[in-house]
Symmetry: C2
Subunit: 211 residues, 2 copies
């Protein structure tokens, strides 16, 4: 199909499509004449994936480029790619959150991993993101919120179990990795929305006047 | 204290502090001379809150301004402020995600709310965010992932219950609202990190080679 049809099918403007090609998110079309390229169904799919990661997942263009590189690299073993994709989907923090609070938080995370017997890496990006969140709670005077950690971990285990069950249904490697990426990013958005709705319900029951 | 000490205590540079004051995130200091202002302990606390919402929560400056306005307005009833804060902490989507997928997703969300007996608003921001995530899943060919919705909702209810238990311990109104904001934003980051770690564990058990 021509770029105009691709644009209509995926709901993405022509200049934006050209930008994604320049940024390496979307493979270029096959040239059919010096000024015209032809696009496949796979381009429609890829554009929808990019939009979902951008709009719902809130990923940056650089973040999406890394995630897509992991999906497209046929050399890496599945388990490794899944681990890398999970790592890339965690925000990386910069700045001045170091210090005693962060060291104490890292210890709390290492304790949690040991307590739950999780096969995960205490220094990995997800563990580090958790330590940063715990240190931030401490810095705003809500260190006591860390008491909910095991209740959160119980819920996270339940969610991870259904995530991996869903992923395991996809036997083709490319689909497997893509489903992890989609499930992780859109699953975060889904869970955050559900948590808000359940909070509104629980808060209405605890503090509300009935409406 | 002077602005230099405030900067050291909160780990935020002087130009950034001035920017937050201009943007209405931080109250101005009390003028002690035409060129000098004095700051209180409350400024340190507020700066830490702003940094936590920015760095860990990923909120925008505009988002933080709205959240802080809700915290600071003593007129609004607690239940209403909690609901509004929860609504503001959900991303608002623009763009072209309309259409049949989104209508079907909205119906699925209304069904879920009815099925679970949640006292929440089918057209509210959290419900709309969930519908957008479900429509995005459909658009990338992973509509089947919506089957996990009830398992996610079970986990979200558990998490919301410990959230509200924690919040209910704070009797002072200002602390109550602030603890919801902090717990919601930092709790999302905590849960997302825990979900990644639990996924790595579950994925290692399902697909891994043992390391």
């Amino acid at each position: 199909m021509r770029i105009g049809e691709l644009s209509r099918r995926a709901g993405v403007s022509v200049p934006t499509i050209k930008y994604y090609v320049r940024e390496g998110l979307l493979p270029a079309g096959r040239l059919t004449s010096p000024n015209q390229a032809s696009y496949e169904e796979a381009h429609v799919q890829r554009l929808r994936l990019i939009r979902a990661l951008l709009d719902v997942g809130g990923l940056s263009v650089a973040g999406i480029r890394e995630v897509i590189a992991a999906i497209d690299d046929p050399e890496r073993p599945v388990h490794k790619v899944l681990g890398e994709a999970a790592g890339r989907l965690v925000p990386h923090y910069e700045g001045d959150q170091g210090g005693d609070d962060l060291d104490a938080a890292r210890e709390a995370v290492a304790d949690l991993i040991a307590r739950r017997g999780w096969r995960t890496y205490p220094g990995g990006p997800a563990a580090e993101a958790l330590a940063v969140a715990l240190a931030a709670l401490e810095s705003v005077g809500h260190g006591a919120f860390a008491e909910v950690l095991d209740a959160y971990a119980d819920a996270a285990e339940q969610v991870a179990r259904v995530d991996i069950d869903y992923v395991a249904r996809n036997v083709v490697r490319e689909e497997l990795v893509e489903s992890v990426v989609v499930g992780t990013v859109l699953g975060d958005a889904m869970f955050a929305a559900l948590r808000r709705m359940a909070q509104t319900d629980a808060s209405g029951r605890a503090f509300g006047s009935g409406t």
